[in-house]
Symmetry: C2
Subunit: 307 residues, 2 copies
């Protein structure tokens, strides 16, 4: 069975930075990514808050550069999923992937978090046909049309403001009468003429035959229900940790994120978790990257003590 | 007394990233830096391990870009030192600076760590006259000359390899017979023809009238003492946390670094520490930047809960 010194699950900012450090340390390193390297940034049009880029940077380009950098220092990237992770009695790990088995002396899991769904009728059926969780990916399909955005946090406003550059109008549907988003984003959103707010409002159903035609919403204060005609529904109501590999293996917090210490060590020696999947994550790209570097250094120390 | 919402002490990677996030959150933010913004990176010729730059990036340029980005989002940068930090009974903080007093609702200390000295005769007297702690700053003064580097970790080899591009020869003096540095750096150093190693060797004295002329070294195995003629001595033997503001205020670990949780919160509410000054730091730029973002978000949450 092929054995790596450091196996990294997930090729987002945390995983690619871990790979860069693991590679520089001269360790035999592999990164598994079953979607697109770069993680969430790969689908972010303009990253304004990654330090070092005062004019912002295209998310896809930044992700590609992180990938290039990790490969430059010797990390191998495999585009496949990891389906199970177990710890052997000798302390090594076994990973099952889409194409077979392999062993690893240490594992860094950076599988991130997935988008939460509304869980209303029509949502699943119309995903990819007007229901979207990524404005950057899908916004261009709705140029000069009317769209609806669901949510009241940073992501909702961030993506809403991005959409404003493309679409004709946006109705932001939020279940409360105040926003959770940062003040900068709130100020910007309120100043955006294309953006209207539907406060105290929840989604009951997404309507449409082959594609979205309207959203049925209800005002939770008045009880009134109405249909908002729209070509698209962009849903930004949080994320859920991708912790399937960790369940039963490491300690998780109540939200399902891995418990780690300041060096990204989990309750299992040799197993590290970095980025949005770890407890108390700041959920920012630069913090995920910092975690990745920290985890790789901790893995390197773990290996140095044992080999 | 002027009051800020977020006062940041230190303008390195951690401080500037904290400022970027604090500014984006719309908080009245100030950064105090008594030396050069960018911290240690500002004097690093080529930063190869900051993700997003596959060909590396000039440290000074990267620092300037981080500074520009922090200012773009509204942070004020003040080039002065903070001489004391106290917590008032109402939970606010008072800072004494070189130019006066100010108040802050939250404080993020990112004062980093300073270079350790050898503590041998001649070192202090000849600092700036051949004794240096920064190859990037001072290497060019010794073009085509013979120099000595002290240390066996990443910094010593990193800086030694940088010097190899400028000087005629380097003798690397290390008190052990193995290096602590990463394998990549070790391989590179051993392949560098300009670099010779003096193993099991310690420095007893630095010699010279107006500038360094030689280093007196002793082999700890044979006891033999000899003078190495050299134009410069570059010392890379670790760092000590700049914790003067924190002593008696927050819990410190045995090495003098601030105890923090995963959100960079110290034992004092409203006071955060990020970067190399916090306990268990990875001591890498991207990790310091991640810490800065995390601390600013925690400070923002602290403020949001109270204002």
């Amino acid at each position: 069975m092929e054995e790596y010194e450091i196996a990294i699950v997930g090729g987002g900012g945390a995983g690619l930075t871990a790979a860069l450090y693991a590679g520089r340390a001269g360790r035999k390193t592999v990164v598994f990514e079953h979607m697109v390297t770069g993680g969430q940034i790969a689908t972010t049009a303009l990253v304004e808050n990654f330090p070092g880029f005062p004019d912002g940077v295209d998310g896809f380009e930044l992700a590609q550069n992180m990938l290039k950098q990790a490969e430059k220092f010797g990390a191998e990237i495999r585009y496949e999923g990891v389906t199970s992770l177990t710890r052997r009695e000798d302390g090594r790990f076994e990973l099952n992937t889409d194409s077979g088995e392999l062993a690893a002396k240490t594992v860094i899991v950076t599988a991130g978090a997935g988008y939460n769904h509304l869980g209303v009728p029509g949502e699943e059926r119309l995903t990819g046909h007007g229901v979207s969780y990524c404005a950057t990916c899908d916004g261009a399909f709705f140029k000069d049309q009317d769209v609806v955005v669901i949510g009241g946090g940073d992501a909702a406003l961030d993506e809403g403001l991005f959409l404003a550059r493309l679409v004709r109008s946006i109705t932001l549907v939020h279940r409360r009468d105040t926003l959770r988003a940062s003040k900068v984003l709130q100020d910007r959103a309120r100043a955006e003429p294309k953006l209207a707010f539907a406060w105290d409002t929840v989604v009951e159903e997404i309507l449409g035959q082959d594609s979205v035609s309207a959203v049925r919403v209800r005002n939770i204060k008045t009880g009134e229900t109405r249909d908002l005609a729209t070509a698209a529904v962009f849903v930004f109501i949080g994320q859920t940790p991708n912790n399937a590999l960790l369940k039963g293996l490491v300690d998780l917090d109540e939200g399902g994120h891995a418990e780690v210490d300041l060096r990204m060590r989990t309750s299992v020696p040799g197993l590290f978790v970095a980025g949005d999947l770890r407890t108390q994550a700041a959920r920012q790209l630069v913090a995920a990257c910092g975690d990745g570097a920290t985890a790789a250094i901790a893995a390197e120390q773990y290996l140095a003590e044992r080999t």
